[in-house]
C-alpha cells in the first residue's frame, strides 16, 4: 500500500509537469490552431536560464525563476509578433513548420550560448536536492512535493486569469471565433501574442521541474516535452481543463507502469512505461475521437 501511494504521488507530480507542458500547447492551439513544436525549446530555455542565473550569477532561486519566466514569455510573444504575424492565414502546415524551425534554432543555440557565458554548465542547482519527507511511512522527495504545490498553484493562477480577467475573456472569445471577436473590438493580435507569452511562461515552470528531477538542464529536455503529447490529445487539443486532466492521467499511468510492470508483466518488455501513455491515448481516442474535453467541430459540406 505504501508502495502504491508513493507511485501514485510520483505520478501526480509527473502529471503536474505534463499538465503544465500540455497547457502551453493548448493555449497556443486555442489561439491559433497550431501545435507549437517549439514548446520543448521553451522548456530548454527556461531550465538553462534558471541554471545560469541561480548557479552562475548567484541570484536567489525564486528571482532566477521569475526572470527566466519573463525572458521566455517575451521570446514567445516576440516570436508571435515578429514572425507568425507575417504568415497569418497561411496553411497550418506552413506555420507548424516555422515553429519547428524555431525549435531547431533554440535547441542548438540555448545550450551552446549559456554554456559559453557561464561556468557551471548545466547544473540547475535546485534548492531541495534529494532530501525527503516521510508521512505515515510514505517517503516523498521534497522536489516532488514542491512540484505538486507549484504546478497546482500555476494552474490555479491560469484558470483564474482565464475565467475572470478581461484578457482571459478576450482569449476565450478569440478562440471561439477570431473574426467575430475582432468585429466586437477584441484586440486579437495582442491576444495571440499573449497566448504565446503564457505558453512560454508555463513552459519555464514545467521545464524547471522536469530538469529538477535529475537536477540538470540537458539538451534532451526539449524532446521530453514530446512526452506530453498523449496528455494534450487525451484531454482534447483546445481545452485547458483537458490538458490538466490528461496530464494527470498520463503521469499516473506512466509512474504506475514504471513501478509495477517490470515485476508483474515483464513479458511486455523493458521500458514499457514509455509506450503505456500512448496506448492509453489510442484507446481513449477510439472511443472519443476529440479527446475527453475536446469539441467536435460542426461540419457543413
Amino acid at each position: 500500500m505504501t508502495e502504491f501511494l508513493e507511485f501514485l504521488f510520483n505520478g501526480i507530480a509527473l502529471g503536474g509537469i505534463y499538465a503544465l507542458i500540455a497547457l502551453g500547447f493548448t493555449v497556443i492551439y486555442r489561439a491559433s490552431s497550431v501545435i507549437n513544436f517549439a514548446q520543448g525549446s521553451f522548456l530548454l530555455l527556461g531550465a538553462y536560464l534558471v541554471a545560469w542565473l541561480h548557479v552562475d550569477k548567484g541570484l536567489p532561486f525564486a528571482v532566477s525563476v521569475l526572470i527566466a519566466i519573463a525572458v521566455t514569455a517575451s521570446v514567445g510573444a516576440l516570436f508571435q509578433i515578429g514572425v507568425l504575424r507575417r504568415v497569418t492565414g497561411q496553411q497550418v502546415f506552413t506555420i507548424v513548420m516555422i515553429t519547428i524551425g524555431l525549435n531547431v534554432v533554440l535547441t542548438a543555440l540555448v545550450p551552446a550560448a549559456i554554456s559559453s557565458i557561464g561556468q557551471s554548465g548545466s547544473d540547475i542547482g535546485d534548492p531541495w536536492g534529494s532530501s525527503t519527507l516521510g508521512i505515515g511511512g510514505v517517503t516523498l522527495t521534497y522536489v516532488k512535493v514542491w512540484t505538486v504545490i507549484t504546478t497546482l498553484f500555476v494552474l490555479l493562477l491560469f484558470f483564474l486569469f482565464d475565467r475572470y480577467s478581461r484578457y482571459g475573456l478576450a482569449m476565450r472569445a478569440t478562440a471561439s471565433d477570431e473574426e467575430a471577436a475582432l468585429a466586437v473590438g477584441v484586440p486579437t493580435r495582442r491576444v495571440n501574442a499573449l497566448a504565446w507569452g503564457i505558453a512560454g511562461a508555463v513552459a519555464v515552470v514545467g521545464g524547471f521541474f522536469l530538469a529538477g528531477f535529475p537536477s540538470r538542464a540537458d539538451p534532451v529536455l526539449g524532446l521530453a516535452s514530446l512526452r506530453a503529447f498523449p496528455a494534450i490529445i487525451l484531454g482534447g487539443l483546445e481545452s485547458p481543463t483537458g490538458a490538466v486532466v490528461g496530464g494527470m492521467i498520463i503521469g499516473v499511468v506512466e509512474e504506475l507502469t514504471a513501478g509495477y510492470q517490470p515485476n508483474h508483466a515483464s513479458w511486455l518488455g523493458t521500458n514499457f512505461y514509455i509506450v503505456a501513455p500512448y496506448l492509453v491515448m489510442i484507446l481513449v481516442l477510439m472511443v472519443k475521437p476529440y479527446g475527453l474535453f475536446g469539441q467536435r467541430p460542426v461540419e457543413r459540406a
Partner: protein
C-alpha cells in the same frame, strides 16, 4: 533537370562526399513522395513516417541480411528484399490506416507519433528480427553476383560503388514519381484530393472515404518501406538508437514536403535537396561564417561549435524561407517562371500584338 541528374556522378562536383549525400537525398525523396501522397494529396497528417521507414529497413535486414546464432537472416537477393520491404510496410499501413477513419487533422498527427514510440518498443523487444537494442547489419544491395557495394565495370566504364547506388535510387525515384504523377490524375487520385479539400463534401459526392484514406496509407507506407530498405542498406545498419527511427526523422519528412511544396510531385525531390544538402553545405562552410563567436573547439572553450552554428543558420533559413514563400520551393519555381514569362512578353513581342487579337477574332466571327 533529369539529364542533369543522370550526368551528376560524372560531373566534377561528384566527389565521394557529395555523391553519398546525393544518394541519401534521392532516398529521402522516395520516402517524402510517399508522405506527400498521404499528407499532401489526401490531407491526412502523419508524423509516423519514421515507423514505416523502420519497418522497411528491418524487413530488408531480415530478408537480405545474413543470419547469426541470435538473429535470423535469409540472405535473399535485393531484387526480392527491396520490393518486399515496400510490401510489408504497406501491410502495416493497411492495418494502421483505419485509425484515420476515426481521427481528424492534428489528432491523427499525434496518434501517429504514438506509432513511432510503439515501434521503438517493438524494435528493442524483438531481437530475433531486429537485433534488439544493438540493432543488426544490412547487406549492400546485391543482385545475384552483381554487388553495388563494390566498384563495377560495365561496357568498359568503371562505375564507383556510390555512383551505382545513385543510379539505382534515381531509377526507383523516377518510377515512384511517375507513379504518383499518374496517380494524381486517376479516379482514386481525384478522390484523394477531394477528401483533402473537404471530407464531408467528398463523402456526399459518393467517394468512399474508408477506401480512399486506406489506399493513401498503403501507397504512402509502401514508398516509405522502400526508402527505409535503401536507407538501411546505405548506412549498413538498422538499430533503434535515439537518432535513427525517431520522431525527428518523421519531422524531417514533414519538413521536406512543406519546404518543397505540399501536394506536388517535384516538391518531394526539391525539398529533399534543400533539407538534405543544406546542413551538409552549412557544416562544410561553417568555418567561414564571419562571427568571432564561432571556434573550432566544440564546447572546449565554451564557444558555439560549427555544428550548433550550422543548426542555427539552418533553422533561421527555414523560418525566413517560409515567411517569404509559404508555398515552398515549388511556389518559388512558379514565381520564377511567371517572372520569366513576363520578361519574355515585354521584350520578345511588340506591344501591338495584344491589340491585334480582338481584330482577328472579329474576322473569325465574320
Amino acid at each position: 533537370m533529369a539529364a542533369l541528374m543522370l550526368w551528376f556522378p560524372f560531373s566534377p562536383m561528384a566527389t565521394k562526399f557529395w555523391l553519398v549525400t546525393a544518394v541519401f537525398i534521392l532516398i529521402f525523396a522516395i520516402g517524402a513522395l510517399g508522405l506527400n501522397v498521404l499528407t499532401g494529396y489526401t490531407g491526412q497528417v502523419s508524423l509516423g513516417h519514421a515507423f514505416f521507414i523502420a519497418v522497411g529497413a528491418y524487413t530488408g535486414a531480415y530478408l537480405g541480411g545474413v543470419g547469426s546464432r541470435d538473429i535470423t537472416g535469409l540472405g535473399l537477393s535485393a531484387a526480392i528484399w527491396i520490393p518486399a520491404a515496400g510490401v510489408i510496410a504497406a501491410l502495416c499501413g493497411l492495418i494502421i490506416g483505419p485509425t484515420a477513419l476515426r481521427l481528424r487533422g492534428l489528432y491523427l498527427g499525434i496518434v501517429t507519433i504514438g506509432l513511432v514510440f510503439i515501434g521503438q518498443h517493438i524494435w528493442v523487444n524483438a531481437p530475433r528480427i531486429t537485433g534488439g537494442p544493438g540493432g543488426r547489419t544490412l547487406p549492400s544491395i546485391t543482385f545475384g553476383s552483381f554487388d553495388l557495394g563494390q566498384d563495377q565495370t560495365i561496357a568498359g566504364i568503371t562505375f564507383d560503388s556510390n555512383a551505382l547506388n545513385y543510379y539505382l535510387c534515381l531509377f526507383i525515384l523516377a518510377a515512384a514519381m511517375l507513379f504518383v504523377w499518374n496517380l494524381a490524375r486517376t479516379r482514386m487520385g481525384r478522390a484523394m484530393q477531394a477528401v483533402r479539400e473537404r471530407e464531408l463534401a467528398a463523402n456526399l459526392m459518393g467517394i468512399n472515404l474508408a477506401r480512399t484514406k486506406i489506399t493513401a496509407f498503403v501507397i504512402s507506407s509502401f514508398l516509405a518501406g522502400i526508402a527505409g530498405a535503401l536507407y538501411g542498406s546505405q548506412i549498413h545498419f538498422a538499430a533503434p538508437n535515439p537518432q535513427t527511427w525517431d520522431l525527428i526523422l518523421s519531422i524531417q519528412f514533414v519538413a521536406i514536403i512543406i519546404v518543397g511544396g505540399v501536394g506536388t510531385v517535384s516538391g518531394a525531390l526539391l525539398g529533399s535537396i534543400f533539407i538534405g544538402a543544406l546542413p551538409q553545405i552549412l557544416n562544410n562552410y561553417a568555418g567561414s561564417i564571419p562571427f568571432g563567436l564561432i571556434q573550432t573547439t566544440a564546447g572546449g572553450g565554451g564557444y558555439i561549435s560549427y555544428g550548433d552554428a550550422a543548426a542555427v543558420v539552418y533553422g533561421v533559413l527555414i523560418i525566413v524561407f517560409l515567411i517569404v514563400e509559404p508555398r515552398g520551393l515549388v511556389g518559388l519555381a512558379a514565381r520564377a517562371r511567371r517572372l520569366a514569362a513576363r520578361y519574355r512578353s515585354t521584350r520578345g513581342a511588340p506591344p501591338s500584338v495584344p491589340s491585334q487579337r480582338p481584330a482577328s477574332a472579329e474576322e473569325v466571327v465574320k
